[in-house]
């Protein structure tokens, strides 16, 4: 359009000058310019009648796996001499192969196809805008259109394989599973001794105790193992996030959440997910592979957010989680979170906090300096204090330096079981 205006303006000025100066040669100079305008008008494109369809080789992929996008444009109107097709690629994606824009000509009914491969980081990516610009051969007169071909591409977070995560909630579900149920019955671990009842296997009789309390017989009891409810809470508050070199701390939190969800679900537990940030994104608890998919999809779209309501953890809706179930909070933590977590623990929830360490993470992005070293030291002391306050309240903590493998960090922290955790029946 600007080209057209420039040409029009030049013609106008030359004509005015030619008339004002009564100069034939000056008026003659306008002829080629006017001819340009006439040619543009004569060969300019008519109304655009284009349709676009898009297909993806896969609509859900793990992070890093390429996806092939195929965009087909069909001209259902008059012929177009020059068409520039530009498929708008969302910021999260990167074209690694092929072409996402094309310059071509389209005869009536003709179809052209763009094929390219993209790859990107975790996210719920919306593809769908195609910009088309048709112009005459001289590029003066053009028509533009935006075609919509909405498609969603889920790039799922990385799931790290974890060894068994030991949890011990106060309440379990009715079905057999791997979680100690704090109830006597059939199982593996010794639970206690009770009086013999008809039907008890003879090999369960505790002869030593029975000898001491003759004539009664006593049998051993074992701790039942069942499945349980696990509520995962991912902290997506912007104030707790840190930006590092090319990756945010929140991304590590998402990876940890995905891995924990997969680990708990693979053991048969019922798992729900709450993403707590700018708003509450709740994935209702469920079992199995379908639930794993639901959680991964929710995590794919998880983003940090800001909200005055959810600035602190005070508004975690406990009605979402069954009473006395296992909660796992994945959060870098703030000072004012302690009281809320202690309150949750006091309500009977068994609480585990997986905390990606923000101090080491941020320190890596700073230039080494005595002042920085001192600040890091002070911040670390404060964090240690915070974690210790949680541990004293009976909350299990995993202090995760994100450059160490999550599985190792998890098992190093959980292998040091506190005395209250080891004791059977202590609540």
């Amino acid at each position: 359009m600007r080209r057209l205006l420039l040409l029009g303006g030049l013609v106008y000025v030359l004509l005015l000058l030619g008339l004002a100066l009564m100069s034939g040669p000056l008026l003659t100079l306008t002829i080629p310019l006017i001819l340009y305008l006439v040619a543009a008008l004569a060969y300019g494109p008519g109304e655009l009648h284009l349709t676009a369809t898009r297909s993806l080789s896969d609509d859900r992929v793990p992070k890093g796996k390429p996806v092939t996008v195929q965009l087909t444009i069909t001209n259902q109107g008059a012929g177009l001499e020059r068409v520039e097709i530009q498929d708008v690629i969302p910021q999260q994606l990167e074209v690694i192969d092929g072409e996402s824009s094309l310059l071509t000509s389209l005869a009536p009914g003709e179809t052209t196809t763009l094929t390219y491969r993209v790859q990107g980081g975790r996210g719920d990516v919306k593809l769908g805008t195609v910009r088309v610009k048709a112009s005459d051969e001289l590029g003066l007169f053009s028509r533009q259109a935006v075609l919509k071909t909405p498609k969603r591409l889920m790039i799922l977070p990385e799931v790290m394989k974890l060894r068994r995560v030991a949890i011990r909630p106060r309440r379990t579900r009715a079905y057999a599973g791997p979680v100690p149920a704090r109830q006597g019955g059939s199982g593996v671990e010794f639970f206690g001794v009770r009086e013999y009842q008809v039907g008890d296997p003879l090999r369960w009789i505790n002869w030593r105790v029975s000898a001491r309390h003759r004539p009664s017989l006593f049998t051993n009891e074992f701790e039942q193992e069942r499945i349980t409810d696990v509520g995962l809470i991912l902290d997506a508050r912007r104030r707790t996030d840190q930006q590092g070199r090319g990756i945010s701390l929140f991304e590590h939190g998402v990876r940890a959440t995905a891995s924990l969800a997969a680990a708990f679900l693979s053991e048969g537990n019922r798992v729900g997910l709450l993403v707590y940030g700018g708003f509450l994104d709740w994935t209702f608890p469920g079992y199995g592979r379908i639930q794993r998919e639901r959680i991964l999809r929710s995590l794919a779209g998880a983003e940090t957010g800001e909200s005055r309501v959810f600035e602190s953890l005070d508004f975690i809706p406990t009605r979402y989680f069954p009473a006395k179930s296992q909660l796992v909070l994945i959060s870098p933590l703030c000072d004012d979170d302690v009281s809320t977590l202690v309150r949750l623990r006091a309500r009977g929830y068994q609480l585990m906090v997986v905390s990606p360490d923000p101090i080491t993470f941020e320190a890596q992005t700073l230039e080494p300096d005595p002042a920085v070293a001192l600040a890091v030291r002070i911040a670390r002391l404060e964090r240690d204090l915070l974690l210790r306050r949680l541990q004293r309240a009976g909350i299990r903590t995993v202090d995760w330096q994100v450059d160490t493998p999550f599985d190792r960090a998890l098992h190093t922290s959980l292998s040091r079981q506190p005395h209250w955790f080891r004791a059977v029946g202590v609540e």
Partner: protein
């Protein structure tokens, strides 16, 4: 192909205008035109996207001044048409570089250059014809014709803008 045609157009525009001024014994403006031509070519090499728009304006102004100074109109016309072609080819060249792929690139470029040559040739022919054919008009008639031309042009540009948006 387009890039070569673009450089050739710039050289042709600068040479024709320079020759017109040199034949009129205006050597300093001729040197200035040479400088403009060299700047335009350098600007193309350095991908200064804003330069073509400025240069086409300057070349048209130079041609207009030459016409007022009664220099060789044919040379001025050649210079003006070549400058217009260079400006246009610059836009086309940038479009070719902007997209990832060009469907049947050679055919597209050839067709494009053919259309451009046709318009340029027709423009030159009509302009030379206009210079050759002499019709005596009274001042009033010339004024009326001029006003009609201006009005028609305004309407045409208005129409193009509406259609373009």
């Amino acid at each position: 192909m387009t890039a070569t045609a673009l450089i050739a157009s710039i050289i042709a525009a600068a040479s024709a205008l320079m020759l017109a001024y040199a034949l009129g014994a205006l050597l300093l403006p001729a040197a200035a035109i040479l400088f403009l031509g060299v700047t335009w070519v350098m600007g193309q090499r350095l991908s200064w996207t804003w330069l073509a728009r400025l240069m086409v304006g300057l070349f048209v102004v130079t041609a207009a001044v030459g016409a007022v100074l009664d220099l060789s109109t044919v040379l001025l016309l050649v210079g003006l048409i070549a400058a217009l072609s260079a400006w246009h080819l610059d836009g086309f060249d940038r479009q070719l570089k902007r997209v990832d792929a060009v469907d049947q690139e050679q055919t597209l470029q050839r067709r494009h250059l053919r259309r451009l040559l046709l318009v340029d040739g027709l423009g030159l022919f009509l302009a030379v014809l206009a210079l050759t054919v002499q019709i005596d008009l009274s001042f009033g008639l010339a004024l009326v014709l001029g006003l009609i031309a201006l009005l028609g042009l305004s309407r045409a540009i208005g129409f193009l803008r509406r259609e373009g948006s």
